[in-house]
């Protein structure tokens, strides 16, 4: 579960998010809507320790977002940006990048596990031999999602992920995120995505309101 209790975030003297309270149950699919600069991205960043909380408490799985817990909290979270930045290497190297870090060394997935994850996301295993930079936007996003699944992430933070996708990629990404057991906190303006989420929040000038 994720909870925000009376959270206020300011940066350089400007309040970006004011007195925000809400909670998300495990498995819920939630979308935040609002104009650019309204505070949506700040909320996502605060969840992963990327914004300074002036007042209030944010909790993920019962742990407060504090320096002593941040590493454990980050283990559960995956961030999927609108345009994932990939390396100049192959898709296989990008997919397995986290397993080069000390935290996951020796825990590399098997070929069968990789294939199962890719097929769940309707990705052809042949793309693993391609350079990541040559993949389409939709393939890159699905590659990032596949990486998060291989890392056993439980919460997906999705930032405007559907804006630049072709219909096939969109279907694959929607189906996976909506049908999986993962908790999804997203930012989107896509009416189709907004219509299919469990809960919709709008944020305006840092103030949050839930749409009924």
């Amino acid at each position: 579960m994720i909870s925000f209790e009376a959270v206020t975030i300011s940066m350089r003297g400007r309040i970006l998010v004011q007195d925000v309270s809400f909670s998300i149950m495990t498995g819920e699919k939630v979308v935040l809507c609002g104009k650019s600069g309204s505070g949506k991205t700040t909320l996502l960043k605060a969840l992963v320790g990327g914004a300074q909380i002036m007042q209030g408490v944010i909790q993920v799985g019962g742990l407060s977002v504090l320096p002593e817990n941040i590493q454990q909290i980050r283990q559960d979270l995956a961030y999927i940006p609108q345009d994932p930045i990939v390396s100049q290497e192959t898709a296989a190297e990008d997919l397995l990048l986290p397993f080069t870090f000390k935290a996951h060394s020796g825990k590399e997935p098997t070929a069968a596990q990789i294939e199962a994850v890719l097929s769940r996301l309707l990705l052809d295993p042949a793309i693993l031999r391609q350079k990541s930079a040559t993949l389409s936007g939709g393939e890159k996003q699905r590659l990032v999602i596949a990486r998060a699944i291989l890392l056993n992430k439980r919460i997906f933070l999705a930032d405007e992920i559907t804006s630049a996708l072709d219909p096939e990629s969109k279907d694959a990404v929607f189906s996976f995120l909506l049908e999986s057991e993962h908790t999804v906190l997203s930012i989107s303006h896509d009416p189709e995505w907004v219509g299919r989420c469990n809960r919709v929040f709008t944020i305006d000038n840092g103030i949050l309101r839930e749409e009924k």
Partner: protein, 266 residues
């Protein structure tokens, strides 16, 4: 052999030579005349003052005075590095100074104690110009590497954050940014080593030859200085970048805004 001294009257002719480029700049309406004149006056005054200072420092030839001079130029170089890299002096002064000191002193030590071995080892005629040459090059390289590293991190915050979310430690998450900053900052030095002697005769070697050294001796010094510059550059870049990390990130491992010049906390 000694270099021919230039009598003052003939030396003054050099300044007349400037009339030619100034004329062209004027015709092209570049508006650089005033700036050029100020820079020529500054260059001349600074070099005369250094010449007078070095004359005394060479005569006195004291270990303490030599060390003091090197410390002063290291501090000046460090302030320049941080200013030009757009970073806050009060936040990164010490780590950046330590990085510059590592790169300069290690290589200077090798030069004086193992390769050249002047008598005494701290002979100002060797210690001061060699330190100055190493520092000047470290300064330019460190400006590039620090600027590229920290501005790269700031521009690609979401990429950096995604590395942390993938389980990377701070060192693992900054590694790609560090690699890119060092690679691009070293490119000019590597390119100059490739063409040295073909396209250009380096200043130090030219100076030594004009000063009466045999070309083969001058070449040895030039090779020594090129290897030294490259080594001190890499050592100081890597040391400055790594030593600055604990000062540049907060307890959540996020880049502090206040490390950039002109940014205040909060």
């Amino acid at each position: 052999m000694e270099a021919l001294d230039i009598p003052l009257a003939r030396f003054a002719l050099l300044y007349l030579l400037l009339l030619l480029p100034l004329y062209f700049l004027q015709r092209l309406k570049l508006g650089l005349g005033r700036e050029v004149l100020i820079s020529v006056v500054r260059m001349s005054v600074q070099l005369f003052l250094v010449g007078i200072y070095l004359k005394y420092i060479f005569t006195i030839n004291s270990l303490l005075l030599n060390i003091l001079w090197i410390v002063v130029i290291m501090v000046v170089a460090n302030l320049n590095i941080l200013k030009k890299a757009g970073l806050a002096v009060r936040k990164l002064f010490w780590p950046s100074l330590a990085g510059v000191a590592c790169g300069t002193l290690v290589v200077l030590g090798v030069f004086l104690f193992l390769v050249v071995r002047p008598t005494p080892l701290y002979d100002a005629r060797y210690m001061i110009p060699l330190a100055g040459m190493l520092l000047g090059n470290c300064m330019n390289g460190n400006i590039l590497s620090l600027e590229r590293f920290y501005s790269g991190l700031r521009k690609s915050e979401s990429t950096f954050l995604s590395y942390l979310l993938m389980g990377a430690t701070l060192k693992e998450a900054v590694h790609p940014f560090m690699r890119e900053a060092i690679r691009s900052s070293l490119a000019p030095t590597i390119a100059s080593m490739m063409t040295i002697g073909i396209v250009s005769l380096p200043g130090m070697m030219t100076g030594q030859i004009l000063g009466g050294s045999f070309p083969l001796v001058a070449i040895k010094y030039q090779i020594m200085i090129m290897i030294g510059i490259f080594s001190s550059l890499v050592i100081s870049m890597v040391a400055s970048l790594y030593l600055s990390l604990p000062f540049a990130f907060d307890s959540m491992l996020m880049l502090k805004d206040e490390i950039f010049a002109g940014k205040k906390k909060g």
